[in-house]
Amino acid sequence: MSVHSAHGGADTATGPYRPVFTGETRTRLEELFARYPTKQACLLPALWMVQEERGWISEPAIGEVAEVLELTPAYVKGVVTFYTMYHTHPVGRHFIQVCTTTPCNICGAEEVVRSILAATGCGELGATSPDGRFTVMEVECLGACGFATAILVNDDFIESVTPDKVPGILARYP
């Protein structure tokens, strides 16, 4: 499994569902089976594959994952919703997570959030900008506390962010 961009893919919420686990992705899934004694254990990696390909995890995708791993859709949904990194609805082309937990917080993370919300046009946390470019979320501790404020843009870890750096950072994500 690779960490390609797991965000901002272009899955459609309408139209017929296109299965994820075909061709090369199916092969990658089957390679995973050898690394775990149960198919169930491949659930987190399989969900990552769905998100890498489609940008989010839709109801039909939950059904497909359940089928390939011999689980029930209800079970898979229970797992998907436990973990905060799986998107259960489409997000913007670029997904921004800003750490606001204590170490970043005391170094000014809330000002970084405000400037990112303003500069992206998202307005509020969790909302996608009208142009579909950005979705911004607060995230709990990213584990880079010495380099506050830490943010993740898609899979890019960016450290020591201050409000004045925000426009330059956002410009790198058209």
Partner: protein, 435 residues
């Protein structure tokens, strides 16, 4: 070398020696620096001999609990009648802690080597390294290093020609602090929600997939090759304080401090030296008000307590807190303690897996009561309410997440009561909107 700043002369550089050195990330670069000698040596040793060596070194778990590593390994069944597993906890999420990510980013082969030695010592053929989902760069570096280790025969069906099979599988988390709790991690690897399990059975009896399992932290495992190479006596000699705390410890320092980052010190180093000499003290013109020394889950120390402590497991307990993960959060005199304690409570409320009532309700209610105080609607009874909640959240649940939420609240009320009082008495502008 040091990262992000050069090593301080007062540091004892063992694990962090090659932080910032990109060549150390590659297999050849690692071998050139003496890498994989320890694994070759360990593969020629018996399981028991390795366990005894690690026991004699005094190495204790670096994830937070401080349990003796060799003793933990010795709990694994002597005969391998069903598969044994090693799980490496790389789900570093404890606020204030960012040491394991540097081990994985700069010295991935140190971790692979440590995992392989530990796997051999506990009779496991497979090791899962559980890396938190947000650690995208460590994931890439570790993936490349594991591939290289296989290509050079360090891992696989016949590790370095020893006849021993050692496989390492990287498992990516997906955003859940609680998966850093060892039994929650086992469930997460099995493809389940990350709910902690009731113990017993302990992992050494029934761990991942119901099989005998040992769970060790990244830093713990990265220390093992050094112990095998240089011997238990050398490791044990790295001790400036209590004889029960040996070796070096990586400390992450963040918050209001001049030179944040990781520092590696001999156990027992005075905390004052770490805070002021190595990390440069607070920003100019300010003074330290409080230090959370071991990640956000441990009691808050006042400046006086922090300056008096020796940095080891016992030394910090003596000053009323715990070493934990050694993620040190420094707060200066500009910090609103009530606001930051509320922010911590909010963290735990967000991360509660919600299976135990005391935690699910307690973390949420604690957050709400603190928010009420910050909104200028606090009452005198709220102190007792918060302390009652904390008491019901301590020692009553499956794991210690709710205890961790209670720790900063109780120590905060005890040590910084005047700041709570200012909000409750209306002497301070509300920091949050009324609820």
């Amino acid at each position: 070398m040091g990262y992000p700043h050069p090593s301080d002369p007062k540091e004892t550089v063992v694990l962090s020696k090659y932080f910032g050195d990109p060549e150390a990330r590659t297999y050849d670069g690692w071998v050139k620096r003496g890498g994989y000698e320890a694994l070759r040596k360990a593969l020629g040793m018996t399981r028991e001999a390795i366990v005894e060596e690690v026991k004699a070194s005094g190495l204790r778990g670096r994830g937070g609990a401080g349990f003796p590593t060799g003793l933990k390994w010795s709990f694994m069944p002597k005969d391998v009648v069903k598969p044994h597993y090693l799980v490496c906890n790389a789900d570093e999420s404890e606020p204030g802690t960012f040491k394991d990510r540097e081990i994985m980013r700069w010295t991935p082969h140190a971790l692979i080597e440590g995992c392989a030695i530990a796997a051999h010592a506990i009779g496991a053929e497979r090791c899962y390294i559980y890396i938190r989902g947000e650690f995208t760069e460590p994931w890439k570096v570790m993936s490349a290093a594991v591939r290289e280790a296989y290509a050079h025969g360090a891992l696989g069906a016949n590790a370095f020609g020893s006849g021993r099979r050692i496989d390492i599988v990287l498992h990516r988390g997906a955003g859940a602090y609680i998966c850093g709790e060892e039994t929650a991690m086992l469930n997460s690897i099995e493809g389940k929600r990350g709910n902690p399990r009731i113990k017993p059975p302990f992992p050494a009896v029934a761990g991942v997939f119901g099989m005998p399992t040992t769970v060790n932290n990244v830093e713990t495992l990265a220390a093992v090759p050094h112990i095998i190479n240089r011997g238990a006596a050398w490791y044990k000699s790295l001790c400036l304080g209590n004889a029960k705390s040996t070796g070096t410890k990586l400390i992450s320092i963040c918050g209001h401090i001049q030179r944040p980052g990781n520092y590696e010190v001999t156990m027992g180093t005075p905390m004052k030296e770490i805070l002021y000499d190595m990390a440069g003290g607070p920003p100019a013109g300010r003074t330290i008000k409080a230090v959370i020394p071991g990640g956000s889950s441990v009691p808050i120390m006042t400046r006086e307590e922090a300056e008096a402590a020796l940095f080891d497991y016992e030394g910090i307990i003596e000053q009323g807190s715990m070493l934990g993960s050694a993620g040190m959060i420094v707060m200066d005199d500009t910090t609103d303690m009530v606001y930051q304690i509320w922010r911590l409570a909010r963290f735990y409320a967000h991360e509660s897996c919600a299976q135990c009532t005391q935690c699910r309700e307690g973390t949420a209610w604690t957050t709400r009561v603190l928010a009420r105080i910050l909104a200028g609607q606090g009452k005198q009874e709220d102190y007792q309410l918060l302390l009652d909640l904390a008491e019901n959240m301590t020692g009553k649940t499956i794991c210690v997440l709710s205890d961790s939420c209670a720790a900063p609240v109780v120590s905060g009320i005890r040590k910084f009561k005047d700041e709570f009082e200012a909000y409750i008495a209306g002497a301070r502008e509300p920091a949050l909107a009324a609820v």
